[in-house]
Symmetry: C2
Subunit: 419 residues, 2 copies
């Protein structure tokens, strides 16, 4: 049994089939499944049989062996091209690329990238790095911190732009939190795929190519680059703090809430253009503040909500409430919220309407919430407010001031006058 063999792995509860990858230890097998995900299996607990030998050519980590079909064992560094770092966290788009090992923190190089997406050739010099290999619903604050550190290291090492390959489920949360953690002199562009590479309708190639073009642009912000429509013509560039996955399956699921996207990438002309003002390349120096207060929750209020949910957040550092309308909850909950605040929990109000600002000065309920000490987050999206509160509690001396101020485009100018 050797790396590259097609194997079946029988465990007590489940059977996998896939290609055996090289592994750093003999105790653990790493198998690449059909969908592209890698699964790690404890060798002792599994029954493994070889289905076919040597079905897949695995590059040696020393690159001395025979190489892929193109026959080019080295991609030359081109001084005329920018260097783009591709960081992978997992998800459908990452499964396109065959990492040479199943381990997290594995490196991958230009060859791996170009074998997976040949259209990327000639656009940049590439560096690749695996930060995580998870389904994005399993994203957690410590991985955000690893990702921010990795992005920062790549920029410090000279990357002219960074592309983060990420599952689409939680991309908006990750793009938001990195917007707060990092001041960046170069573009940091998240991209992903709503359909895997084995489907005719896959969006992975166009999204990857467009993300690289965006990472070469002069917009030094955290962006999300995904299909702008169901056609393969334009990718939209969304500000990381204002983007939301608004459809479960469409390729153009990602939208900027409450505004047009910041810009777009024309797939045919490769032109990147922006509609509004943005922070330009090299406008700020690289800096990183990756600390997060993890003990922050998001609570969505709906009619009939059990007040016990407020008991769960008792003692928490912070809670973001997704209220109704201008930022309301049942008035019976207000004394309990006041108590939480008196006991040291920071409570921030957002709206489940998603668009528009909360404004708790209009109705009695809102005024009572403000009197209780609730902090308004303007039109910050609830998910963005959650990760911002995690960040602000760990990094800001004045959390109320921070939550009411736009630090990374998360609060928009009032687009609709109140009257």
């Amino acid at each position: 049994m050797n790396p590259g063999d097609r194997v079946r792995v029988d465990r007590a509860d489940r059977t996998y089939e896939g290609v055996l990858l090289p592994s750093s230890t003999d105790e653990r097998l790493v198998v690449k499944l059909e969908g592209g995900y890698n699964v790690g299996v404890d060798r002792e607990a599994a029954d493994v049989s070889v289905l076919a030998e040597d079905v897949y050519e695995i590059d040696g980590t020393d690159s001395t062996g025979p190489d892929d079909e193109a026959g080019s064992s080295e991609i030359e560094f081109d001084d005329d091209l920018p260097t783009i770092s591709l960081l992978s966290t997992g998800g459908t788009i990452a499964s396109t690329i065959d990492y040479r090992t199943g381990a997290v923190t594995a490196q991958f190089d230009a060859e791996d990238v170009l074998r997976a997406v040949p259209d990327l050739a000639g656009r940049a010099n590439y560096r690749g790095r695996v930060v995580a290999n998870i389904l994005s619903e399993n994203m957690e604050p410590p991985i955000w911190q690893d990702l921010a550190e990795a992005v920062s290291e790549e920029i410090a090492a000279g990357a002219d732009g960074v592309v983060v390959m990420h599952g689409t489920d939680t991309m908006q949360y990750s793009a938001s939190v990195l917007s707060f953690m990092l001041e960046t002199p170069v573009p940091i562009v998240f991209t992903g795929s709503q359909r895997s590479a084995d489907r005719p309708s896959s969006d992975n190639v166009m999204n990857a190519v467009s993300a690289v073009e965006a990472a070469k642009s002069d917009c030094a912000e955290v962006l999300v680059c995904m299909h702008a429509s169901e056609s393969d013509d334009v990718c939209a560039l969304h500000r990381g703090t204002r983007v939301r996955k608004n459809h479960t399956s469409r390729r153009d699921a990602f939208e900027t809430v409450g505004a047009e996207p910041l810009g777009d990438v024309d797939y045919e002309t490769e032109g990147v253009s922006f509609r509004r003002g943005y922070r330009q390349r090299d406008a700020v120096d690289l800096s990183i503040e990756p600390d997060l207060e993890e003990d922050v929750e998001l609570l969505k209020f709906t009619p009939g909500m059990d007040p016990q949910f407020l008991d769960v957040v008792e003692g928490s550092a912070g809670v973001v409430i997704e209220g109704t309308g201008l930022g309301h909850v049942h008035t019976d909950l207000i004394p309990r919220i006041e108590e939480l605040i008196e006991n040291g929990t920071t409570v921030v109000m957002t709206s489940q309407c998603l668009e528009g600002r909360v404004c708790d000065r209009v109705y009695d309920t809102g005024r009572d919430l403000l009197e209780a000490g609730v902090i308004e987050a303007g039109d910050t999206l609830p998910g963005t407010a959650k990760v911002k509160l995690m960040w602000a509690l760990a990094n800001s001396n004045d959390v109320e001031e921070a939550m009411g101020t736009s630090l990374a485009g998360e609060i928009q100018e009032r687009s609709v006058p109140w009257e």
Copy 2:
């Protein structure tokens, strides 16, 4: 001190100013505040002073006294016009109408309606009824049941259509739950106001007029009628189960999610038109199933969520999860969810994407959730799924079947092919 006097009420914690209304008991004062809301005050606990006598003419409940400025003491019933019942639950729009008493269950008649919104004259014969007078963030399942009973009684008494005046914060939840509780042979049209009547930009008149026109139409469904744009030209008619307040303050905040509105009302021509198929007037007989299982929660999953939230719903009858993407949560939560289901809690999956169907057959996480016994709700909106689950647990023999079936338009045909 008499009804109609302008008074100041000082309580331990707060001072009110407003017009004293007639009250059914001497122990309780009812004061109409500037914003239009009524507040009830325990007489013993309050210090009341008259600021000005007889500032407001209060109609006697026997209608024998002198009447309003128009001098018409009776509005004649017009055989050629349909009869529309106006039910009020409170909210900004209801504050337009001066009820003759501050009590819930108060009646109001055509005169009250036409004094408040003269543009309603000549469109219908009106009956009026106060079901509740609450801020809509305080909406609760028992009030939904009262409202359904009241609507049913009005239809049984011969109303050709019903208009429900409702605060906008939770209108979508109320319209949804009535869609499940009632089979109706006539239109039931919710309307409200995003700006109160004392503002130049108020939307209350156009919304009320358009709702009455919709209530005269042949669409025998539960609808929401609100501004379709920022202009005063067209109101959109949304199916009650698919509508969402998508902006905190705009007059056109309400949108049908994942489709065009079902129809609209042209304010100038008064024409009501529909874009798609709908249930027609008299297609079904009136019936009501108002039972609700109140012990149902909605839980929004976000990265870093404390698993303790699942402990709160332990023993609950049901919980709707607002998952990521196609309907996912962190895989660490799945064993706990399985345990909940084994202990009798019905767990339903929806998506925080809002548009698009959940589909847990695509990725491992989803398949594990299905194996654990989670029920998929198609593209039912999370809030609609919560009230539907409340209803289904009380009225359906097969809750899984019910949650996967469109009972009132809450699950749409697949509008976007999967590939």
